[in-house]
Amino acid sequence: MERYFDEELGRLKDDMRHMGDLVAEAVYRSVEALKGQDKPMAKKVIDDDKSIDEAELAIDEECLDLLALRQPVAGDLRFISMAMKIATDLERMADLAVDIAQRVVELGDQPLVKPLVDIPRLTMLAQTMTREAIGSFIASDMDLATKVILMDNEADRLRDRIQKDLIEDYMLKDPATIRGAVPLLLVARHLERICDHATNIAEDTIYRVKAKVVKHHPEKLNNNNGNK
């Protein structure tokens, strides 16, 4: 039976997708600003964060209204309660994009200590994980959620490699590079944290669909493959 409630949930899904797009875009633009050392672009990322904060508040309000007025249970309840958590994750991801943009502002015009290779890769990964994590939640797609969670290993690996390269090949060899290398270290860390939040969203998807908690229990992930 079609319920009016499903339309309301549909609107909530649309708003979540929109917020996810804004966040993925902010991450992308923050790193584009870094690549081009484009301070105006970085400042725009910082300014635009307000609209993401507002999107979070709007989703929270929508969820609270649905909890109060529809008194959802079971799958509906899991959907709405996870939507609230996800809005928080998305907002923090946007804050990390702001952190990246601030590193760009800090760097100013000083030339980058090295060409960016792995950071753009990690950025691509962070964007993909963000979009697919939200997509998996909206579509209740367990396979996609599982894929996102597994991608986090690659994010950790890239972050470790970026750190190792910067520390061993630059900072230790030539302390004069430290001032330029630290912001890049931080950017790698911010990107990896964005991937962690995307992983949280994918874990929330699995709870929403299967009522199974995989957060902090990675061993439970294996039984989820292929289930929708």
């Binding site: 039976m1 079971a74 009522a211």
Partner: protein, 253 residues
């Protein structure tokens, strides 16, 4: 050893004539807990609860198969006195049904039927029952007034007091708030939560939020079958059966 099961139904089939109302119901009602039975109209939930104190004995052309045990004793065994079962397992109905007598006599009546003669004892029991049913403060000045002058919610609490007077072990509630306003409903729900300290309770309700609020365990019936039974918080956050999910989220129809 302590047995947590107060009432045990085993493979219960029940027929009204040729119509099968219950199909192979097996479930336990735990001692000192509230068990809610939910399901759409005609799912057999009221039929089931009425079997638990042999109310359906009074309905003609019915057939029961299977067993229902109260503390291990088969309540349908020929050796069992149904009147004694109904004393031990009391029932409160959808519509308050006080006798057209005074408030006092409504409660004293059941005691007299059960052989109480000493007026002091009867009076003591009446007062205790009214207190336990959270009605005493509202009626203590007018015990001789007709029970029919009470509000619907008060009448329902009087019916609960009437059950309590004969010292039951189990209380069955069949849609006890269906004809009550939200305030009276809240009072009955609070009372159920209070009463579960001393009694085992089963409640049939159409109101799923009520089941969620008052019960520890929930059973979902559909077309005479027990689809799923579990801890209430699991049924309302993560039911296992798709039919339970559809019913409680309002997708049925």
């Amino acid at each position: 050893m302590f047995d947590p099961v107060k009432i045990k139904a085993q493979h219960v089939d029940f027929f009204y004539g040729n119509q099968q109302a219950l199909k192979d119901i097996s479930m336990d009602i735990d001692v000192g807990r509230v068990t809610a039975i939910i399901g759409p109209s005609g799912c057999g939930k009221s039929t089931f609860i009425r079997l638990l104190n042999r109310m359906n004995d009074l309905v003609a052309h019915t057939v029961l198969r299977g067993h229902i045990y109260l503390e291990g004793q088969d309540i349908f065994s020929p050796a069992v006195d149904p009147v004694e079962i109904r004393r031990r397992v009391g029932m409160v109905f959808q519509k308050p049904n006080p006798f057209p007598k005074s408030i006092f006599e409504n409660i004293a009546y059941g005691l007299e039927v059960n052989g109480y003669r000493d007026r002091d004892v009867i009076e003591e029991r009446v007062v205790m029952s009214l207190k336990k049913a959270a009605l005493w403060e509202e009626v203590k000045e007018r015990l001789r007034d007709s029970a029919l002058k009470l509000s619907g919610g008060q009448q329902q609490r009087l019916c609960i007091a009437r059950c309590l007077a004969v010292a039951p072990e189990v209380l069955l509630f069949d849609e006890p708030c269906a004809s009550l306003d939200p305030i009276s409903t809240a009072k009955i729900e609070e009372l159920i939560l209070e009463l579960k300290k001393d009694y085992t309770i089963a409640i049939v309700t159409h109101n799923m939020q009520q089941a969620a609020r008052v019960s520890d365990r929930t059973a979902f019936f559909l077309l005479g079958e027990l689809v799923e039974m579990g801890e209430t918080q699991h049924i309302f956050t993560a039911p296992k059966d798709k039919r339970t999910e559809a019913y409680i989220t309002g997708r049925f129809g």
